[in-house]
Structures are given as structure tokens and as C-alpha cells.
């Protein structure tokens, strides 16, 4: 029923001479949560980072193939990677608010980096809206000018989500956003992801298969044939189907905990 937001064709990613992922083809549906699962080193994080052109920030890293967001190739020659990243936000594994900034300044940082005016009342509105969207407003509304690093780990991660959505991106990429958090904070982030999927396309990398089952509608399973070989997409499908009767035997053995 949903149109595809991201269309990935024949994607290969390299670190220098090492190929990290080979020939991935995938459609990521709009306004749904897509989870990437797979053993360590299978390239799922690398693949996630190619989706907003963060992969190329690593020295020697390069990408082949095409990724289209609403029909526009992200790797088109004339396109500035910064513009891509404005529209495809990212949340990292470890919560990392900017330590030199207050909670308010953290939320507005993306706008300021892009010279988008957010002074005075307009800024206040954006801060409140983003923090409310990240379910953090009630906890921090009295201390917006305190440093962001003074919050708990789970609150910091929600602040990072607020910071990402303040730019109103089309897509939100999350790289194991809960792996550094306790179960209660994880629960809060998962609830938040389910709310956010109404407005954003969400792609999440996770090591936790229960988490993938709880929050995602689509699941993609990545694997690698041997250490040193590039990772590849084994299969992708509706989460329910993937977890109850996967097509490929290696998906089945990974999901049932036989390796990984």
C-alpha cells in the first residue's frame, strides 16, 4: 500500500581495497520501520551509512550503484552530500549530544549548521515541537539551557533523535540506537520509534532480534559467506513472515539462534 521511499540498485561499498557489501538491491517502504539484522561484520551498518552518504567520510571508502530517494539519485554528481544528510537523518549507537551546547542548542544545532534561521520564538517553537516529538519535552522543559550531556543515557538518545527530526527529514536512520541503553530506556525509544513511523520512514540496524520483531514491519537479513568476504542481502520481507517462516535456511538458523 505504501510507495517506496528508497530504492537501492546494485550497491557495492568498499573500504579501500576491501569490499564490505556486494550487490544489494532493496526497496525501503515509506512510513514504515525497516530493520536490518545479521551477524557482526555482515555490512549492515556500512549499508546503513551508504544511505545518507556517511560511508564516504571514512578515508578510502567508496560506493558503487545507485540509491534513489523519491526518484532522485543520492549519488548524483551535482548533489552535495550535506543536502542528502539534511533529508536523511541519522541516530548513532552511543548517545552523543554536543557537550558544548545546551539542550536547546543541541536541538537547534542541525538548523544552525545549515544556516536556517531559528532565532527567538520560531526557534522556541521548533525546540518544543522536536522535543515533544521525541517524548522528551516534559522531562527537560524546565532546563532547556542546561547542558545536554547532563541527561541520562536514554534521555540523551531521545535528545539526539529530537536533534535529527528538528530538520524534518524524510528518512531517519538508526544504527543500533538502544544497544548502549538499559531496558527501560530501550522501551521508551522503541515506543518513540513506533510513534515516529507515522511521519518518517525509519531504518534501524539492530542486534536484538526481539527488538526487530517488536518494532519493524519489514526485516532485511544480511550475512557473509566467510570472514573477509563482502556481506550481502540474504532476503527481505514482512517481519512477521521473516520470523515465522523465512525462505532461506540461513535466515532460519540465524533467527533461531544457531549462529551470529
Amino acid at each position: 500500500m505504501n510507495e517506496n521511499e528508497l530504492t537501492i540498485r546494485n550497491l557495492n561499498a568498499y573500504y579501500g581495497g576491501f569490499q564490505a557489501i556486494s550487490n544489494v538491491n532493496m526497496n525501503i517502504p515509506a512510513k514504515e520501520v525497516t530493520a536490518f539484522i545479521g551477524p557482526s561484520g555482515c555490512g549492515k551498518s556500512t549499508f546503513l551509512r551508504t544511505l545518507n552518504r556517511m560511508h564516504e567520510e571514512i578515508e578510502g571508502a567508496r560506493v558503487e550503484g545507485s540509491i534513489e530517494l523519491e526518484g532522485q539519485d543520492l549519488y548524483a554528481h551535482a548533489l552535495n552530500p550535506a543536502a542528502v544528510r539534511r533529508h536523511i537523518g541519522m541516530v548513532f549507537q552511543h548517545p552523543n549530544p554536543f557537550p558544548s551546547m545546551s539542550i536547546r542548542d543541541n536541538v537547534l544545532s542541525g538548523l544552525r549548521f545549515n544556516s536556517i534561521s531559528c532565532k527567538g520564538e520560531a526557534g522556541d517553537d521548533i525546540v518544543e515541537w522536536a522535543l515533544r516529538s521525541a517524548n522528551l519535552w516534559d522531562e527537560v522543559k524546565d532546563r532547556l539551557n542546561k547542558p545536554g550531556v547532563g541527561l541520562s543515557g536514554g534521555q540523551q538518545q531521545r535528545l539526539c533523535i529530537a536533534r535529527a527530526i528538528a530538520l524534518k527529514p524524510e528518512v531517519l536512520l538508526m544504527d543500533e540506537p538502544c544497544s548502549a541503553l538499559d531496558p527501560i530506556s530501550t522501551r521508551a525509544i522503541e515506543d518513540l520509534i513506533l510513534e515516529l513511523k507515522q511521519s518518517y520512514t525509519i531504518v534501524i540496524v539492530t542486534h536484538n532480534m526481539q527488538q526487530a520483531a517488536r518494532i519493524s514491519q519489514k526485516t532485511a537479513f544480511f550475512n557473509l559467506t566467510a570472514v573477509g568476504e563482502p556481506g550481502h542481502l540474504v532476503e527481505m520481507g514482512d517481519t512477521e513472515a521473516m520470523f515465522s517462516h523465512p525462505n532461506m535456511p540461513q535466515t532460519k538458523s540465524y533467527i533461531s539462534g544457531q549462529f551470529g
Binding site: 550535506a82 537523518g89 554536543f98 557537550p99 558544548s100 545546551s102 549548521f113 539551557n145
Partner: protein, 346 residues
């Protein structure tokens, strides 16, 4: 206690030594071969004694470190305070003869030190911080950045007298033999300050976690915006200490300034012409001349004369130098604290 002894005697019977007295790979001793059987009490007494001893060593070492600091400040304070007066701070040494009144002051040395140190830092702070940014942000493993780093390491080992001779020789070539002025001193001090600024700010910039750089880029920041708004802002306290450390490094330099900026009695604000006095050079100059000459007794009764005046002036100038460093330090830390969003309250 009785339970413990009961248990331990059972262990003793089995393996010769208590579990708490055995080291991991010790062979079990039998009752016959074991000479001394340690008890919990004796072991605990030994442990506490050793802890007390180590505590004493640590506290004494800490005190020994503090003694010279307090002693230096105390000596400068007690010996320098006598001559320290508004007159002393606002007058120079023009027309001061021997030990006779008026005793003169250090205004020319203060203005020279502030001007030369200030201009040196105006040159070195941006230069050093830009170099650190280039090395850390643009060319992490490039040949040029490795070259700069090793050049900095060699430069930081240059004896200060050589820096003075270098500046003197350079300006002798550029603008005539024997050119001595404030700016020659600035160049000499810049050679000394630059490695400190580069090394310390490189350390500050490289301590900024890469995850923050990634976050900024992922929010659509360009590289220059990321460096300006995230890297430099996060590293700011470290950059301020880089500048403070460099000031502390050069403000007490004596030998290069005596060669490059010279020694003079009158106040000179012009960096580019004429010799310029500085506090360390003043201190050395006063102290090295020893006792001042006073006229014969009957003239001295008409005009006050203090043969010790040179030494007193040297100490007073030393006290001013220490206070100047302390003020620079306080201002630097205040700036760093104020600019952090963390301490801002609304």
C-alpha cells in the same frame, strides 16, 4: 572469631596453610614443614601497617611538591612588597642615578612585557590553532602533517638563547646589522611559543571524539561548519589552556629578549623602533648590578639614599611578573568557563 579459628584449624590440618595466607601457586605445606603459620590477625596488622606507610609516603611527596611553590611566592611577596607602590608602577628609570631618591619604577618594563607577549600571542595563537586543525582535521596521516609534527617537536627543544640569536641574526640581515627592537623580541618569542601552542591545541582538538564530528556531518554540516561549531567549540577550554601555557612559557624569558629587544631606561611603546625593556630583563639588570652607590654621608643626610635599592626593585618587579601570570591565568580560565554553554543559566 571462634568460628573462624575453628574453620581455619580445619584448613590448616588439611593443607598446612590457611587459604588467606597462600599464594596461588604455592605448594601445600604440611604441619611438620610449616614453620610459621600466619593468622588472620597478624596478616591484617601487616596490611594496615603497609597501608599507613604508603599513606605517609604519598602525603609527604605531595607536601614536598607544594613547598617550592609557596616558598617562591612568599619570598617574592615579602621582599617585593616594600617597593611596590603606585609610583613604582607608573614611572620608568629615566634619570635615576645610583641609590639616591627618587628610586624609579617599572612602567617601561610592564608595558614592554605586555606589548611583546601580547603581539607574540596574537601571531602564535591563530597560527598554532590553524596548524593543529590542519594536522588533525584535514591531513591526519599525510606526509606534510607528519613533517609539521616532527618540526614542532624539534622546535620545542630549541634553547631560548638560540631563538634570541636567530631573531637578531634574521633582522640583521633584513634591516641592517644591530637592529634591536620590540618586534625582534616578538619574533624570538614566537619561535618559542609556537611549538607549545601547536602541541597543546593539537591535543585539545584530537581529544574531541569522532562521534561528534560524525553527528555534525550527519546533520548536514559542511566540513568547515563542523570544525567551527563543533570541534573548536568543544575543544575551546583546551585551546585556552594552550594559549595560557604558551604565555607562561614566554613571559619569563630573559636571555632572548636581552639580545633581541635590549635593555633601556625609558618607556617605548613603538615595537618597530628602539629598544624595549621587559620585566625579566629588568629584574636581571637590576640584580646583576648589586649595591648602588650613595654619596658621602653629609650629602646623604640631605637626600635619602638606599644602597639596597636595586635588589629591592628586582624583587618588586619579580612580584609584578608573578601577579601578571596569575592574572593571565585567571582571565583565561574565566573566558573558557563563560564560553561553555554548560555554565550558562537562564
Amino acid at each position: 572469631m571462634s568460628l573462624l579459628t575453628l574453620n581455619s584449624s580445619a584448613t590448616k590440618a588439611r593443607e598446612g596453610k590457611h587459604w588467606f595466607a597462600r599464594t596461588p601457586h604455592e605448594m601445600p605445606e604440611t604441619e611438620e614443614t610449616g614453620k610459621t603459620v600466619a593468622t588472620i590477625e597478624s596478616l591484617s596488622r601487616r596490611r594496615k601497617l603497609r597501608s599507613l606507610l604508603m599513606n605517609c609516603v604519598v602525603v609527604v611527596s605531595a607536601c614536598v611538591v607544594v613547598i617550592p611553590v609557596i616558598s617562591i611566592f612568599w619570598t617574592a611577596l615579602t621582599r617585593g612588597i616594600a617597593q611596590l607602590s603606585p609610583y613604582f608602577l607608573t614611572h620608568n628609570m629615566r634619570g635615576i642615578v645610583g641609590g639616591t631618591y627618587p628610586y624609579g619604577g617599572i612602567f617601561h618594563a610592564i608595558s614592554g612585557t605586555v606589548e611583546i607577549t601580547g603581539v607574540t600571542m596574537l601571531i602564535c595563537a591563530p597560527l598554532g590553532i590553524f596548524a593543529a586543525i590542519y594536522i588533525n582535521e584535514y591531513a591526519r596521516r599525510s606526509r606534510l602533517s607528519r613533517l609539521v609534527v616532527s618540526a614542532v617537536n624539534i622546535m620545542s627543544g630549541i634553547p631560548s638563547i638560540l631563538a634570541g640569536l636567530f631573531a637578531y641574526a634574521l633582522f640583521s640581515l633584513l634591516s641592517g646589522v644591530g637592529t634591536i627592537n620590540g618586534f625582534v623580541g616578538v619574533v624570538a618569542l614566537a619561535v618559542l611559543a609556537l611549538p607549545t601552542v601547536i602541541k597543546t591545541s593539537l591535543e585539545a582538538v584530537s581529544r574531541v571524539p569522532d562521534t561528534l564530528r560524525e553527528s555534525a556531518l550527519a546533520l548536514g554540516a559542511s566540513r568547515s561548519v563542523m570544525i567551527r561549531k563543533v570541534v573548536l567549540r568543544t575543544a575551546l577550554p583546551g585551546l585556552v589552556s594552550a594559549v595560557i601555557l604558551a604565555i607562561a612559557r614566554i613571559i619569563g624569558e630573559t636571555a632572548p629578549l636581552m639580545i633581541a629587544a635590549g635593555i633601556v631606561d625609558n618607556t617605548n611603546f613603538n615595537l618597530f623602533s628602539g629598544r624595549m625593556m621587559t620585566l625579566p630583563a629588568y629584574i636581571y639588570n637590576e640584580y646583576s648590578q648589586g649595591l648602588a652607590t650613595c654619596p658621602t654621608a653629609h650629602v646623604a643626610s640631605l637626600m635619602p639614599c638606599d644602597p639596597q635599592i636595586r635588589i629591592e626593585r628586582a624583587w618588586a618587579a619579580a612580584l609584578v611578573l608573578i601577579l601578571l601570570v596569575a592574572v593571565f591565568n585567571a582571565v583565561g580560565h574565566w573566558v573558557a568557563r563563560r564560553s561553555m554553554a554548560g555554565s550558562r543559566h537562564s
